[in-house]
Symmetry: C2
Subunit: 209 residues, 2 copies
């Protein structure tokens, strides 16, 4: 089927949100750990992690201020330090449950059953059970005026993962740690590794099909 | 192992690029089809598709101007119209080969063996073999000054996919069409569907673990 812009505009609002969000494809599941001025911990699931650059190491996420993510955004902007945590696919129900609209006074760590972990004097809590734990520092906020969303770019301060996941050239085999992926807001996936290919060169093949 | 910012800065440049890029996790593979003033077709693989919003339907990609992606960026900014194409995992070698640095005069469609498809009077070429074909219109360019990358936001003009992929609530089961995913710049995945979960509510469970 083909839908044009007019058809898309006419879709039911909720249907359209599910449709367009899931259509955007496969994405990494990341749990963002943060802490408020008052020391209240927060943990929330995001599907909008974006690699911005490796030198310096910069990653971004998109925030929608009118959702449950607002506590995370407030903490990130006020404290500048937060954590990215990748979790085992076996814990997908716990990860998903962090998206519930808990009161600000509730720690999602406690509510869903993840263990907060503080270390190396870093201000924000990690997920102890996570297979990849990354400490982030706020660098830049970009207001996307076209629809009011906010992109937050942070720099990587530290990375913790099992040595066995890292290949000789630096490639991280997340599939070996069973890392959870997703599509849209409620569908979960476990990617199956197919292959790695060498650097593509124009003379490698030409219309070999 | 734990690497701090100092350790990361000391990594070999190429190792660090592979490490940080693959560490950012699973992502959708998208082939961007575009066309120049002179009618030259271009097709290039991207791993930075980002859902910005559903109403209006907006998606972004990140461009690095110093790479092979520069032809795509030039076309998108000059012509305002481009296509997003998701392909079958069985064609991963063809998709990867579009990343080779062909001369601007070479059409990657022809070089790698995809068929360009024009339709509905839309200016830019689609990949005929793609299982999801999306027509895009340029909306906004955001210069990310922190490292010179460029985010391009576009609005969805039309969507073509098989009806059988769409669930009653609008969810798109990309796995039913064997859609290709990736990690980093050269690793390919085929995500295995696990489950969809219902909207999370605070009272659904509390620390049930």
């Amino acid at each position: 089927m083909i839908l044009d812009k007019y058809d898309i505009d006419l879709l039911d609002k909720r249907y359209r949100a599910t449709f367009i969000n899931s259509l955007a494809g496969y994405r990494q599941v990341v749990l963002i750990g943060s802490q408020s001025d008052e020391g209240k911990m927060n943990l929330a699931i995001f599907n909008s992690l974006m690699h911005i650059g490796a030198n310096p190491a910069l990653w971004a996420v998109i925030f929608r201020p009118d959702t449950v993510q607002r506590d995370s955004l407030k903490n990130v902007l006020e404290q500048s330090f937060y954590t990215f945590n990748f979790v085992d696919a076996i814990d997908l129900e716990k990860a998903h449950q962090t998206s519930a609209k808990y009161e600000s006074s509730v720690s999602e760590f406690e509510a869903v059953g993840y263990t907060p972990e503080y270390k190396q004097g870093f201000f924000a809590p990690f997920v102890k059970e996570a297979v990849v734990k990354i400490a982030m520092k706020f660098e830049q906020k970009i207001d996307i005026e076209i629809n009011g969303t906010i992109m937050v770019i942070g720099s990587i301060q530290s990375i913790e993962l099992n040595d066995s996941l890292i290949a000789d050239d630096g490639f991280v085999s997340l599939h070996k740690a069973n890392v959870l992926a997703c599509s849209g807001l409620d569908a979960y996936y476990q990617p199956q590794f197919l292959t790695r290919l060498s650097y593509a060169k124009p003379d490698k093949w030409t219309n070999k099909i």
